[in-house]
């Protein structure tokens, strides 16, 4: 944890730096290029939305940025670590301490209670006070009364709240969200995205969100568009508003 705070303190280096990232998938007959020469820099504390249609390559990009997969070409530097050169275990360690995730389909383990789901990343990081921290977070997301409910007993919105609590549990430097409101109705989606933004601000976390919801994307400080694997940044939100 000390090491993590040290890195956090280094406010000068960008949180995420991507250089000429290309990703290809080999099919039976030919090779499909999913991402083509993607470069970007995201600073600490920024919230960034990557917007694109289905199949544009946005989720693949998110996976590569988070170190869940390795690119065919190019580099990804996350919080000072060149993740495209790290081994799988080194990347796992990085994820355990500095990265949080929120998924479109929540990805809660059905066998575990809400509390246990939130405790999971804390336990993996070897935290001794996992339960206390998990309770605290669940109360923060408004589920203090439903700690021992299993995901099946929770509504979609509630499940996503648990997932958000889990994402913030290990006090990450950066949070990756893949269509966090994609499976929710408008109103619930709104309250979930409110919660996400709030927590993000409170914790000072960098947020990288993939979405096709322009409305949600507009709440982020910067937006990127992705189409056929090519990333463009139309204009920074600040520039537009100034």
């Amino acid at each position: 944890m000390n090491q993590m705070t040290n890195v956090k303190a280094d406010r000068l280096t960008p949180m995420l730096r991507v250089d000429n990232l290309t990703h290809r998938v080999r099919l039976e007959t030919d090779t499909l290029t999913i991402l083509q020469g993607v470069s970007l820099e995201i600073n600490r504390g920024e919230s960034v939305a990557i917007v694109g249609r289905s199949g544009s390559g946005k989720t693949t990009l998110l996976g590569l940025l988070a170190g869940l997969d390795t690119p065919s070409d190019g580099t990804v530097e996350l919080d000072g670590a060149m993740i495209s050169q790290l081994s799988e275990d080194e990347r796992a360690k990085l994820r355990a301490h500095r990265v949080g995730f929120v998924f479109q389909s929540f990805q809660l383990l059905p066998a575990l209670s809400a509390l246990e789901n939130v405790m999971l990343p804390l336990e993996l990081a070897g935290s001794e006070s996992a339960e206390g921290r998990a309770r605290e977070l669940l109360e923060r997301v408004g589920l203090g009364e439903r700690l021992n409910h299993s995901p099946r007993q929770l509504s979609g919105g509630e499940q996503q709240r648990v997932a958000i609590a889990r994402a913030f549990a290990s006090d990450p430097s950066i949070l990756f969200a893949d269509e966090p409101t994609g499976n929710l109705d408008n109103r619930t989606g709104q309250s979930v995205s409110d919660l996400l933004m709030e927590l993000n601000r409170e914790q000072g976390t960098t947020l990288v969100m993939v979405t096709h919801d322009e409305h949600l994307a507009a709440r982020c400080s910067r937006q990127f568009h992705i189409e056929a694997g090519v990333l463009t940044e139309p204009a920074a939100v600040e520039e537009l508003t100034h």
């Binding site: 275990d89 796992a92 998924f103 383990l109 999971l120 099946r152 007993q153």
Partner: protein, 828 residues
Amino acid sequence: MAAARKLMSVRRDWRERDVRVVLVALIIAVATVATIALFAAQLQRTLVSSASSFLAADRQLEAENGREIPPDWLTEAQSRGLETGRMVEFSTMVFGSGGFQLVSVKAVSDEYPLRGQIETQGAPDRPRDLVRSGPPPGEVWINPRLLRLLELDIGDSLEVGNRNLKVSSLLVREPDGGFRLSALAPRVMMHVDDVTSTGVIQEGSRVEYVYLFAGDDTVIEDYYQWLEPRLEPSHEWEGVRDGETFSRSLERAERFLLLGGSLAVLLAAVAVAVASRQYALAQRDTVALLKTLGVRSRGIGRLYLRRLVLWGVTGVVGGLLVALPLFWLLTRLLSEVLERPVEFHLTPSALLPALLTALVSLFAFAYPPIRRLRDVPAMRVLRSQPGESGRGALADAAIAILAVFGLVWLYAGEISLVVSLLAGLALLLGALGLLGWLLVALLRKVRGGGNAWRLALVGLYRHRRASLSQMAVFAMTLMLAATLVLVRTSLLNDWQAQLPENAPNHFLINIAPDAVEEVGAFWQERGQPLNQLYPMVRGRLTELNGEPVKEAVSKDERIGALNRELNLTWMSALPEDNEIVQGEWFGRDAVDGVSVEAELAERLGLALGDRLTFTIGSEKVTESVTSIRTVQWDSMKPNFYMAFPPDGGLTDMPATWITSFYLPSDEKTALNAFSRNFPTISVLEIDHIIDRIQQIVRQVTQAIEAILALILAAALVVMAAVVSATLHDRQREGALLRTLGGRQSLLVRSTMLEFALLGGFAGVLGVAAAEVAVWALQFRMFEGSFSWHWQVVLPVPLISAVVLAFFGRWQLRPVLNVSPMLLLRRLE
């Protein structure tokens, strides 16, 4: 509906893992049951026919009244298609160049032996031959001892009554020699047509006519129905299956195979149950969709019923395709050692249990969860209903348990088997309940951390429902497999104990009282000490409580012991392997009383205090029954139906002594010196019989091992089925753990540990339950004694822990090899 049906084609089915497990389990069950049933039926036939060679026929009819049977009895048998043969047995003096000797003659017809072979030797130093007929007219075959006693050579003539017959060969062994000690004098075998011309048999001579019959069992039975009313009391119809040593061995092997088959049924049933339940759960979405599209509940029911029938047909056909080559292999294996080859014979009725197994497995195990698919609400397409997965599990289990035990009962025909297995299972479930409670109580406090151990324990706790149900199935599987291994081990041990390396393989009979010491010294000098010597007096049991015994005992009870002379003995100490079951053994100064062998006592309906009268020569001896004891007939030691105290009723009777001892095959030349020194003593060589039994036991053991391997394969299928039932959840969890930063090595270690713990617990429970089942089984089915088998008990939990750890590692494979992102998407 046509589209829906298409959706459910067998080919599409095969792509589903759960369906593959159901089909593989069915195939193994049908294959095991069919192989065992076919093999057991064949073993039964072989057992009877092998034992038949001890009679040289399938049945013998003995006429002890010195008169031949009416000729039409034989023509009747022949007209029914039975093979027949004829023998005449009598004692007479024969003369050779070196003197004369009392011999026991067996005159045989051309057909002798109908079963088995005769072992002969062209000369003392020539190799032994096996032949299928006796000597031709004009020739005799004689016991090697007689050759020495009368100083004869092969080719010399032997004077039998009025005839000189040429000694053309040595008679080493006759198939119907068995263990009968009646032929005390050296044997001479001649052709039956020469008997009249010898003039030996006169009016009133003691002669026994024996008729041999062989043929199909049912024809023999029909013939006996015809014959029975014509038989006189002096006629003895003798069959086989009366406790010959190795038929007992084979019977126990057969029981083992039946037990194995029953366990295979249970194992397969468990696999089918687990897999089809899983399958049904996975099918709910499809059913909900079909209902949304307008298919009615009844239509759904029909669709799945049709599918079950298709599985059944596939299972039966596949199973038989595996069973037939296996059965052929087993018959080949056994044929190598048996005189009469085991035929590759398909008994249609033996296939019935296999069909029944498939039917019951499918309809008692697979059908209930699948039938409930009809009740899946169409609403499910919009929202899954909580609690659906657990509904009805108890009712399913109850139906399944009842069905399978019914099946085992029907199959093995042993209520004790069913009860034993149920007892083991009850213990298992009780222990599981306790363990579940402990698991919750102890592991609740364990919190995870980066440590693999803690993660594994937390994993066990968090998946406690799945863990406990998996443990139940693993433990049950291990219990069944361990039961079989334990029974097999104790069966083999018992066989070995029954025939240890140096089991007595020679009998010395007809030792005169004054030669006893000298004989003992002769063998002592050669380092082959004799076992206990027993006096032997030959006599008949003639009266029971003052009434002639044949009237006292109902005619239906044809008891061999009543129709021939019995070997009576006296002894002071009870032989080690005998056991008193009623009454008391003779006191030190006992002068009266008789101890009777338990089985004979039961058949005669004897109780303590009943008075038995024996006719010995012209004397009569009457004694009361003072004890009833069991005897180890297969101990290869002298055994007696009737024993008297040393100073009891037999004291003044003329006795000879009998003993048995072990002689290694390379020391057999000592027998020549022995025969020269003690020409009147008969040596009965049974080493070849022992060799044969040991050989058969070895081969049957191999057959048993083959079946065991098949059953262990079934056990592995069950385990794979159970593990794969949670595969999807586990993989998803693994992918998520990796996404959340769990290192591969941590994931691997904690998963392997969790499964190892599961396997270890299941192993301990399974073995404990197996010991209970074996304990219950041992006495009833295998007559063996129970003992702990640490060599099996200790490794099983260990092996099951290791195997399951690797199962756990195996199912993690995709989680480790694919990017977590991809996997999460794929598993959504």
